[in-house]
Symmetry: C2
Subunit: 284 residues, 2 copies
């Protein structure tokens, strides 16, 4: 089984290229796809820093690349975009595709501890396997300069991964993140199944719990949240993250965007601000 990534598609966009790759992931025990957007070569530098984008429930590595329009600003700023998939696929674990908010397409960027879901190790995949694979296979990427962002479940992933790895990422941002999963139905369903009943383990994957723990955050965290997002008050709970950040003196810019919903139309509208936020942290 080939762990080296094979290019499966390539399309030029804003002077750079969207490229899709397939590889066998030893971490997850299955074949995975991911996308990279390579900005056009620049006279300033021949190595691009990396912005990881973690997608939300039901998404694959394609949604962000096809819908966000992030490539325009990424091209301008000279940052590569890396979009992984959202869970292992094709393992045929019983019940893995029974619901849209759990199992396939819903990895929650954690390492499952329950035997049945042992392949669900998206935390290790994103934090360890993928950066190593990128630095070994793409000389034009400088994975030592990296930032992370995401949407909804991917916003949860970005915030938790950042807070647990302040040495690895220069900055974080999120769109409508699941900001306190231990207290919302999506998070409780996923964590019960992936992690069992040990609540201390749950807190290790909850941005609101983590932000109090890792107080040495210096770069401002940027979050955009649509006010007409139907998941705002039941599932996302960004105000709890806001309160915990204030209490921990962690700099947070939580912007409420009137009229916006949970869709990629919302992301497209504000993605340029997020790219600029990360470009600044990456010294671009």
């Amino acid at each position: 089984m080939e762990t080296k990534p094979t290019e499966i598609s390539s399309s030029k966009m804003f002077g750079g290229y969207n490229k899709r790759y397939k590889h066998f992931s030893p971490t997850l025990g299955c074949s995975m796809t991911f996308h990279i957007y390579f900005p056009p070569p620049s006279p300033r530098s021949n190595k691009f820093p990396v912005l990881y984008w973690l997608s939300g429930l039901t998404c694959t590595d394609e949604n962000f690349i096809m819908k966000s329009g992030a490539q325009r600003a990424a091209s301008e700023k000279g940052v590569a975009l890396v979009a992984p998939d959202t869970s292992p696929r094709g393992l045929n674990v019983e019940g893995e595709a029974d619901s849209w908010d759990f199992g396939v397409g819903a990895g929650f960027y954690l390492n499952a501890t329950q035997e049945k879901w042992k392949n669900w190790r998206m935390y290790d995949y994103v934090v360890k396997e993928l950066p190593k694979l990128l630095s070994e296979n793409f000389l034009q990427l400088d994975t030592s300069r990296a930032s992370i962002s995401g949407h909804s479940m991917g916003g949860h992933g970005a915030l938790t991964i950042y807070l647990k790895n302040l040495d690895k990422y220069k900055s974080v941002s999120a769109f409508a993140p699941i900001a306190n999963p231990i207290n919302c139905p999506w998070g409780q369903k996923a964590f019960t199944n992936y992690l069992g009943d040990n609540k201390a383990e749950w807190e290790e994957y909850d941005a609101t719990c983590l932000v109090s723990k890792y107080k040495d955050v210096s770069a401002t965290i940027l979050i955009d949240q649509g006010e007409d997002d139907k998941f705002l008050h039941d599932q996302l709970l960004p105000f709890r993250f806001g309160e915990a950040s204030r209490n921990a003196n962690v700099p947070l810019l939580l912007r409420l965007q009137p009229g916006y919903d949970h869709s990629y139309f919302f992301i497209s509208t504000f993605i340029d601000d997020h790219i600029r936020h990360h470009a600044q942290a990456l010294s671009l």
Copy 2:
């Protein structure tokens, strides 16, 4: 059956709204959907001119709205975007869904003359029914100021509709249009089935034939064409349109874009130029 459009979805984007509507079309004899992007209200004007976008083979009214990112420039310039579907649907004509390049999703923006396809009247739907329906139902649209654009089959639609209705549209542009359908396999298959064997009728829906006939074109026609588009030399034939335009003294800006393919990634890259082109013609 309700001919008045009913709103079926609404999402804020770049300060304006993507709205999807459903209505019964007397022209086509079936229920149809279309999208409008309304830019944000502006102090300059309370009526927005309209840019029609005609999509390509297999598309619905959704592709352009979800993938092009055109709303950013449309918001900035204050032009409404109107994206109709690409054919009648749900009529259950025998064989209508047998191929991706004919029948459902492949209306070719003409009025069929063959009995079997009598509902395929996308020309009348786009040129007559839709503008009337828009002006009667959306006071914020000024349909007397309109331009037209499209991609592939929709580029063919935009060019032919514009050339036959110079009084109705201020400007035209196209991405990778099927520019000489009577001489390519897609066009020959569609025209044979929809129009029968009368070649004089075929020429009425062929941009390369029409451009010689309507010489009083004053606004520059803008076409972008990817050089790595796999359909360029067999199906699209833009150079024939270029030659016919030169012979007819019709101003044409045909831009070849190295490395770009036939996808929406190509469209996203250059859509801002097209919006600006139309905004200028619409005096925005």
